[in-house]
Amino acid sequence: MHPIGADPIVVVGTGPVGIRVVEELTKHGCSCPCVVYGAEPHEPYDRVRLSSLLSGRDDLSDLQIDSVSSNSKVSVRLNCRVSRIHPDERAVVDEDGNVQPYQVLVLATGSTPHVPVTLSGVSLPGVFTFRNLGDVEGLIARRTRSVHTVVLGGGQLGLEAARAMRRDGTRVTVIEHNSHVMYRQLDRLAARMVQRSLVSDGIDILTNRNLVMAIGAERLEAVTLADGETLSCDTLIIATGIRPEIKLAQDAKLACGYGIRVDARMQTSNPNIYAVGECCEYDGQVYGLVGPGLAQAQIVARVLMGQTTSYRKPALASSLKVVDLPVFSLGEINTLPSTHTSWTWENGECYRRLVVNRGHVEAAVSIGQWDDVTQLRDKVSLKRRLRPWELWRFHYTGQLWANVSDVSVWPDDAQICSCNSVSRGEISRVITSGAKSVDDVIAKTRAGSTCGSCTALIRQLVEPESAPPISELSVSLRLVAMFAGAMALAGLVVSVPYASTVNPQFALDMLWTDINHKRLSGFVLLGVVLLTLPLALRKRTSIQWGAFNVWRLLHATIGVLCLGALLVHTGFRMGSQLNFLLMLTFLGLIFAGAVVGVLQSFEHRLNGSGQLSLRKMGATLHIFLLWPLPALLIFHILKSYYF
């Protein structure tokens, strides 16, 4: 731990990561004053949502981060660029020449847009980068006037910019030098779906093309492609990636690669200087996403507060919406060896692909809504394997896990907000301790405050009426299933005693002593058993008639009838050999079904993976025990006639 003396902790950068460092320090009760330098003139804002601002989905106030301005220990110096670091004197100098000594220096200088050096004419008016609020202000001004905007770069940022610019009917062309858009995140098929969606939205996409020149006398008039074609346009947005902003660090002789090199504690080569976010390089890798940056901010705050902690490489995952199309990507799907197994599922609207190496997901791509995404990301970051049946289910249904759409049954440690690492359990705790609305939860946990894509999940948790409401049907189902379970259990342990006297119980005994009665009750039982099968068909075929929960209730009721017929047929005597096996199978089958039914009826209430996996086990057992029945039944009936 660093001795906390008179000098403040200085943070360079007011981006989301820099601000998060200060927030985390405050949260951990840091008594040391903080000074935050921001080169931009604006109050700290959420850079991640700039594309929403550009498209008009959010306004400026939505982007404001005002969590630090109210803190008396924190002084924020905006529009004040730090020009030099003096590591030996432990001080920074701003562009006005003011010297600020520091206890500890945290660099969160972020990145600058990468502009290809081969491209000439980038200084012409009408050529924009897409990085900061200033860029967005300029673009908003252009948006309404622009007739044709060319976006260079088909990455995530480029596509978002293209979409935002398209809003007012502006013609937009995206130029991508790779064979498809979002080349790092998507495979060819997924990219084709994204492109199709973009094209249908009116955005032209030119792939395998490169831009060499921006032409114009006083302002941009056209661009020239590498193959000589010229496109007339009035706006060019360059979105060809980022370069970590490391000039300050280089000047201070800190070890730098592509970014500022840090260890797992976010410490640079100088023990008093730390670096976080897009400007730093950990284990040879610079992360251009907000999630890892915020996690790094958390690490650095903990390190400064003397806690032992270290940074873990995140699963490179991103969820975004491209032209309202949910796109999820994890890992680098195009660079994996072909020895890995690839699992694909698609249904026209959705496309999902997993690349799996011995159960571990190495990469994943999904286009369209996919509820498994959060759990999948958790599995990957915890290095958990996928089970073979999960992969089979994925192959067949596109879902890895059953019923994940109900967020309340997610496991406690499943992440809801991956930007801020907030788990389902944490949110549930906040809700139990009094949070009443989505905004309450966001204020208390910060879940959903960064990219906002998880607010729907939070709403499901906080407003139960949006979760499946308890219906009278599920109460009925519970009663019927409990009755069936109790009866099946009773059948396993007790049986009707035979009459001890010929009068008057003997007549009842005829049910079990008279062969004709036995055969009649046996065939009635068989008929009732067959009545349970339509549910299986309803589940597995395209028959969609009637509500499923009505079918399920009916199925459970027929299950009880089966037990009634079984009682008449056998008196719940287990018999021996083949008969015993049949009884055991049949009663076990019904009991497992009853367990599933009871758990199903509590679905709206219980949560956690325990219930989910118990129900899954029950359902598997229910089906598994059904399988021996045909062979056993055939011979049970046959032998009654044969012998």
């Binding site: 009459a499 001890s500 005597r573 021996p628 011979f635 032998k639 044969y642």
Partner: protein, 452 residues
């Protein structure tokens, strides 16, 4: 491939395999069909559980007649012998049609269903014990003494049996009610083979004239010990030489088969196959081959070192000595290990055997295991002579044990005492050491009615 396709394919394959396997088990000859048994069999039939065909027939899909014929095939003679009180003819009589409607006693299985241990009572009865009420509800009208008696005591109190009442019917009781507990003449039947052999049809008396043979007369050289045993046996006494048993159409046999014994001892062999010791060998009834009975298969307690012995003629009679004395006690004790058997040595019956062997009592005074359980009975040949055969079917004098009274007990004991003794479970456990505690009312009730 799709998980579901694999799962469904494996299921279909497993089901087909199961069906094929079970079809094979159901129909192939000489296969263990235990898997189809709906429940363990009664004590009477458990030995032949695997010979499904013996009752169900060799053809599948049989009807009630096949079962009925199987019952009668083994038990018909005994029922006739017992002068069955409820024969089929009683129920096929049109005058009893109303009773037939209540209880279809034309078929054995109406009252004796196999494979139903949960409702099987003593004697393999699978009806509630008060079944007599179905027809005899108004018995007290005729016999006021029976007023208020519970109907489940008819057969359990020692008064009545459904089939065999030879020693229990009223006239018999009246006739013997004044007998003392111990009769003045107390001997059992003695062997009389020598006297009647020449008259027994089919006995090859020409080959084996009744001449006492000595060791020197043996027609085949053999070990002196063996020769000595043979010379002392009843075989030597009846002129039966070595080759009589060992020489067959296929030449010399070291171990003669049971059929060789049966060639002369056909009646003993026949009853042996009907009894508990030989029923597994009765291939004619079973319609399949089973291994011989072994004590290890029995449900009664058996000595642990005897479990793997196999029962045949020589297992009890020995190979050359053929000593009926040792066959009647020692052979039993080699295997049987229940209280009744173990108490025999200290019983008054055993003391009689010792006294007889010391010459203190006349021949036939001793009471061995066989005296009661495999007694000598008189087989009547055309009203000209009687052969005192050993009944090798134990159930002839057992189950219910009142069957023993006339052929066995009444040789020495009075009727009333015999009925009481056989009703006293504890006394039987002690092998009749002491006096019976039970007192069956039937004799005194018969007396009262007679005196009125």
């Amino acid at each position: 491939m799709n998980f579901n396709i694999i799962a469904w394919t494996s299921w279909i394959m497993a089901s087909v395999a199961g069906v094929v396997y079970l079809s094979y088990v159901m129909t192939a000859p000489d296969v263990d069909r235990t898997v189809f048994v709906p429940g363990p069999m009664t004590d009477g039939h458990h030995q032949i559980e695997l010979a499904c065909e013996s009752c169900h027939g060799t053809e599948g899909f049989t009807d009630a007649e096949v079962l009925q014929n199987a019952c009668i095939g083994c038990h018909g003679d005994a029922l006739e012998e017992a002068k069955d009180d409820h024969p089929k003819s009683k129920f096929t009589d049109p005058r009893n049609a109303d009773r037939l409607a209540v209880l279809d006693a034309r078929y054995c299985v109406t009252c004796h269903v196999e494979h139903r241990p949960e409702r099987t009572h003593a004697m393999g009865l699978t009806l509630p014990l008060d079944y007599c009420i179905l027809c005899h509800e108004d018995v007290a009208l005729d016999r006021p003494s029976h007023e208020g008696m519970a109907f489940d005591t008819c057969a359990s109190a020692g008064c009545h049996n459904f089939h065999d009442n030879r020693a229990l019917y009223e006239d018999f009781l009246v006739r013997h009610m004044d007998q003392p507990w111990l009769l003045s003449s107390r001997v059992t039947l003695l062997a009389n083979f020598e006297a009647v052999a020449s008259q027994i049809p089919g006995y090859p008396v020409d080959h084996y004239p009744m001449v006492q043979l000595a060791a020197d007369n043996a027609d085949t050289p053999a070990d002196p010990g063996v020769l000595h045993e043979w010379a002392a046996s009843s075989h030597a006494a009846a002129g039966v030489n070595c080759k009589a048993c060992h020489q067959t159409d296929q030449g010399w046999q070291d171990s003669p088969s049971r059929e060789m014994c049966g060639a002369c001892h056909s009646e003993e062999s026949r009853s042996f196959l009907l009894g508990k010791h030989g029923m597994r060998l009765a291939e004619e009834n079973l319609l399949r081959e089973l291994t011989p009975m072994a004590p290890g298969l029995a449900r009664l307690p058996m000595k642990s070192d005897a479990h793997s012995k196999e029962l045949g003629c020589i297992s009890c009679h020995g190979a050359h000595e053929f000593d009926s004395r040792s066959a009647s006690v020692d052979a039993c004790m080699n295997c049987h290990d229940d209280d009744h058997s173990l108490a025999y040595e200290a019983s008054p019956h055993a003391a009689l055997v010792r006294a007889e062997s010391l010459g203190q009592l006349p021949p036939g005074s001793g009471v061995t295991c066989a005296t009661c359980h495999m007694p000598r009975i008189e087989k009547d040949y055309f009203w000209t002579f009687e052969h005192n055969l050993v009944q090798h079917n134990q159930s002839e004098t057992m189950r219910p044990n009142e069957k023993m009274i006339r052929p066995v007990c009444q040789n020495c004991h009075g009727l009333s005492f015999s009925i009481d003794a056989l009703a006293d479970v504890e006394l039987i456990k002690r092998n009749f050491k002491g006096q019976p505690n039970a007192s069956i009312a039937s004799v005194s009730m018969a007396r009262e009615r007679d005196e009125r």
